[in-house]
Symmetry: C2
Subunit: 630 residues, 2 copies
């Protein structure tokens, strides 16, 4: 009845093992309540409408009307502004699938009509290169984001098709994709080139999956293989410094690098090419062991929005673009589908809560582009950006979140994320399985999965790596004598009856996390985590101390956890005794001095920490994640 849990494994690059898991469709799962449902609703009711208004006000949608000849106005904004519209459309499509009709439906339909009208007879579509710049098509693939914008069109079209079954946008996408196939390729009768900003690779893979047209897969493979040959300048900023399969580590622009990895993983999932799988495993391993913030954020450098050196992880000066956090989720999700290794799900969850969500204000009206782990209080969210990649990226992530919860293999449902939902899943073998999740996660580690179907199949439930104590699994209230180690999926196989209930008990204790000693800024410091959530101190909760002076005891100390339903939309806060240890008097006016022991003031204080994702939603003030110890 019960199998032993699978063990964590490295990426298995043997051909037989690739892409074991199939994602459950976004449309098969409905978020019903709790943490993520609230954000899903915020997206539907607030964010998408506010973003649409921005797209209109900033001329992004008018650019399509202009290209369609409906409007006489100059092109507005940045060269890649089409992509913001497509990302919004992708988000809106997923939301419409769950709740069709209404104002959003009208906007989407009208927008698709505008987009279709802007398409050239030969299938070309990019509003910047419309009309007077038509002769400059493909003239600068490195900088001008044509293929990037095309990719976002493809993703929006696939989402719209999957969400609604309509092919109106898919047809537009395929016409452009077919033009790409006809234009670019390895042969002498094709142009050579690839995109300075990866994105089209995964988009073509999704188009391949949606249509079954193998030429799109081949085209994605061509664009991937064209890198590292100097076609677009040879810089690591564009991931063109070395062929992808030979990259030792991620470098250059973080979002670009991670989008490329996502596309490469999609390709590997279909081809199982060993060299590609080895590269992905190498890059992933290096990234998580040397380059990732504790938030799951990536790309520490402001200069070039880029990956830095190993262990280069500044806190106040972190870049960690919200889009890079999203891209981390996207890549982790794709790696997870390869073999069901829980380590990918752990990073996906870590980034979702701590690298993506902080990019969004609690009211849905403000966004971070940059996500520091320490602030002096002068950094705030903004409603929109000239380069507005992040807001619609957050929107499409939230809109597609139902699709991140489950995967399927022959007769198994994999449960990756915990959030109240109602799922009607069809296993590859044909069996229909309805599951209902109930949980207060991430505030509580108790999760109940009600089975509303009959028959023999497996549930594989994830025991997060953050579980420090043994997790427990209960069936209909009875503990199963089953090992449930952290960082694995536990399989429960049986002949299920309607009304069966599987419960997880994931002990959620506050963890003090330390960083590798080569990450210099965090030497002698700890960060607090509870469950999947990273915590931080904010000045507004700790007004009587400079946060840089807060010092935690070396020995064990009590941390009181309290759920406060009215604070920050409802959060568990952490309260604990600490000390305020300001720099001693000998530092007055000095930055350096000979080592000396001077009396320091150690003032006891009660500190209050809130989830990092919720920072900067109240009175402006300092924030700090990593706290001194000792």
């Amino acid at each position: 009845m019960i199998n032993k849990p699978i063990k964590p494994v490295v990426v298995d690059t043997s051909r037989s093992a690739y892409a074991r898991l199939k994602p459950a469709p976004v449309t098969a799962v409905t978020l019903t309540d709790g943490f993520w449902a609230a954000r899903y609703k915020l997206n539907r009711e607030t964010m998408l409408l506010a973003q649409y208004a921005q797209l209109e006000e900033t001329g992004r949608i008018n650019n399509f009307r202009r290209a369609a000849g409906k409007l006489d106005a100059p092109f507005a904004g940045l060269v890649f502004n089409d992509s913001d519209v497509y990302k919004w459309l992708e988000a809106a499509a997923w939301v419409l699938a769950a709740t069709p009709g209404g104002a959003l439906q009208q906007k989407v339909d009208a927008l698709i009509a505008d987009i279709a009208a802007a398409q050239c007879p030969d299938g070309y579509l990019n509003t910047y290169y419309a009309l007077e710049r038509a002769g400059e098509r493909w003239s600068n693939l490195r900088d001008q984001h044509e293929l990037y914008c095309a990719g976002h069109l493809f993703q929006a079209a696939v989402a719209h098709y999957r969400a609604t079954g309509a092919t109106s946008l898919l047809t537009v996408a395929q016409r452009l994709a077919d033009l790409l196939c006809a234009t670019f390729g390895p042969g002498a009768d094709h142009r050579q080139g690839t995109s300075g900003h990866p994105e089209v690779e995964m988009a073509l893979m999704e188009l391949y999956r949606a249509t079954g047209e193998a030429r799109y897969l081949k085209q994605a493979e061509y664009f991937l293989n064209a890198r590292g040959q100097g076609l677009i300048g040879g810089r690591d900023y564009h991931q063109d410094h070395v062929p992808f399969r030979q990259m030792p580590r991620l470098a250059g622009h973080a979002v670009r690098a991670l989008y490329l990895c996502s596309g490469a993983t999609d390709l590997y999932a279909e081809t199982g090419e060993p060299a590609l799988g080895e590269a992905l495993a190498r890059l992933w391993g290096h990234m998580t062991a040397r380059q990732m913030y504790l938030t799951g954020g990536l790309g520490p450098r402001h200069e070039g929005e880029a990956f830095g050196d190993d262990y280069e992880l500044p806190n106040a000066r972190a870049y960690a673009e919200t889009c890079a956090g999203i891209a981390n989720v996207m890549w982790a999700w794709r790696m997870l589908q390869l073999n069901g290794d829980a380590l990918y799900a752990d990073v996906m969850e870590q980034a979702l809560y701590n690298a993506v969500l902080p990019g969004l204000s609690l009211d849905g009206m403000g966004y971070f582009y940059v996500n520091p782990l320490q602030s002096d209080g002068t950094y705030h969210r903004a409603p929109w950006f000239v380069c507005a990649c992040c807001p619609p990226n957050v929107a499409r992530t939230l809109a597609s979140l139902p699709g991140y919860i489950y995967s399927l293999t022959e007769d198994t449902v994999w449960v990756h994320l915990y959030a109240p939902n109602d799922a009607m899943l069809t296993l590859p073998g044909g069996r229909e399985v309805r599951l209902v999740q109930r949980t207060r996660y991430p505030w509580d580690g108790n999760v109940t999965i009600d089975v509303l179907s009959v028959g023999e199949f497996s549930l594989r439930v994830r025991i997060p790596a953050w579980c420090q104590a043994d997790a427990a699994v209960l069936l209909n209230g009875e503990p199963l004598s089953i090992a449930a180690p952290a960082g694995t999926y536990v399989e429960v196989r049986r002949s299920w009856q309607v009304g069966d209930s599987l419960c997880l008990r994931l002990p959620m204790r506050v963890r003090q996390i330390e960083a590798h000693p080569y990450a210099l800024e965090n030497s002698g410091r700890v960060a607090l985590m509870r469950g999947p959530l990273l915590y931080c101190l904010e000045g507004v909760d700790n007004p009587d101390v400079d946060l840089r002076d807060v010092t935690l005891p070396l020995e064990e100390f009590a941390i009181e956890e309290t759920f406060m339903p009215t604070l920050l939309g409802g959060v568990s806060v952490l309260r604990f005794g600490a000390e305020g240890v300001p720099p001693d008097a000998g530092w007055s006016g000095r930055l350096y001095r000979p080592v000396q022991q001077r009396p320091v003031v150690r003032r006891p204080l009660m500190a209050l920490a809130v989830p990092y994702y919720a920072w900067a939603n109240r009175a402006p003030g300092p924030m700090q994640v990593w706290l001194r110890r000792g």
Copy 2:
């Protein structure tokens, strides 16, 4: 006979106190031997000739010939390439003053002729805006460096005039300066504007001092006052975000900010305007207490070559441009002249040895633009740069170094720096004083100053702030019963006889320096200094350990100092027992983990440290300044 030493004071902004000290002329002092004489000679015999060849090869000098109509070729290089030529000329002029004639003289004379020939009839001179771009003059003061290049011409001209007495270049400079005065100003009949890259301010002040023409002072004041009014875009990158006198701290591009401060100090030295003095004191205090590397380097950010937030001082990722170190010396020197406060001399010396000198390879053929305090071994010096501001800046600093050693007040010689030299000084009161310094400084803290003149006057000798034990002053071999606290000038006043000898004993012990606790990367770390020199570990000397793992004892430990005459041109090295403490086994493949005590390997080792200025002159390898402790 002996006065008590003056006390450190803050900048006295009362009108009576400004510019007490007069610099001794560069030409009055001859470096005779030792540390700096060797570098002066390297500059004369190697650097200046190699740099001239670069100026020729890269078309920088041809740009003048082109503007003069002697050459038909496109403008070569960057818009500010004239400035590299001027800086080289400034350096060469000072060297010629000491050793006229020869190939260098011919090059200088020919170059001045080319420059003069390139000047327009109305005095305008900038080779980028010559010929076909003549109509675009002054069209973009923010980005195009016209006033910056003009400033470097003025400085070169003043140097040439002071060094040789010839007015050939000074005349060219004055014609351009007069055009600036006629063109820019506060009135309605003048253009409004100021330079995106400060430099012209201090250059105009030097031109004022060299010629006595008050309009140049007024013009410098106008350009300073024109900042912060949005004339050049209002960004802190250009120091245009706020009027200078209201700046709370230095921000934006570091070299620009420091050049501006240097010019403002020159202005204050002449006007004594209280608000200006207050701003300078405020900016200096903030900079040294919050923004300066232990090297004396400034500007931590690669992005914008800029100042960062307070305490933002990354090591491996330091920018700390060599030119910013030079600018620190320039500003400190000017502040020092205001009131003789030794704190400025301390920073000047610190930056000279540890922020300027590392920019130069020991063979005089390689330069750093960026000066990290930690390296993985992949960073090396280059013979030249497309943007070649640093090499000729190092050259002019070395060439003018004799002028940094002494200042003069009515009947007092101030001795700021210690280096063997022969000085023939004329006090403002008219008395001639010949001094001869003998010392092995910076390897040894014993300094002998032989007096070769007769009469009553004072010597004020600097007791560096780095003296942790009491310094001693001896007259003709007999200790004086005189307090000589660190960080002051000690005055010895007497009726001197030829053959009198004043000796300083500056105890030079190795110091373990710690950084302010808010400088996160240096938490729990120390750096080693001895005398004015900062030390570092290099992989080549410590091959059996990852430098990041070197850990110093918490308790006192012995450090053996040895002068090695054949190593790195002759350096004192430091040897000491330490431990190699690699990350424990639990870190394998991990970047974060719950706090835990795991057994670590503590392997005893003998570490060898070399002066930081001498790093990267042998086999490529890692380097580290700040070392773990405990």
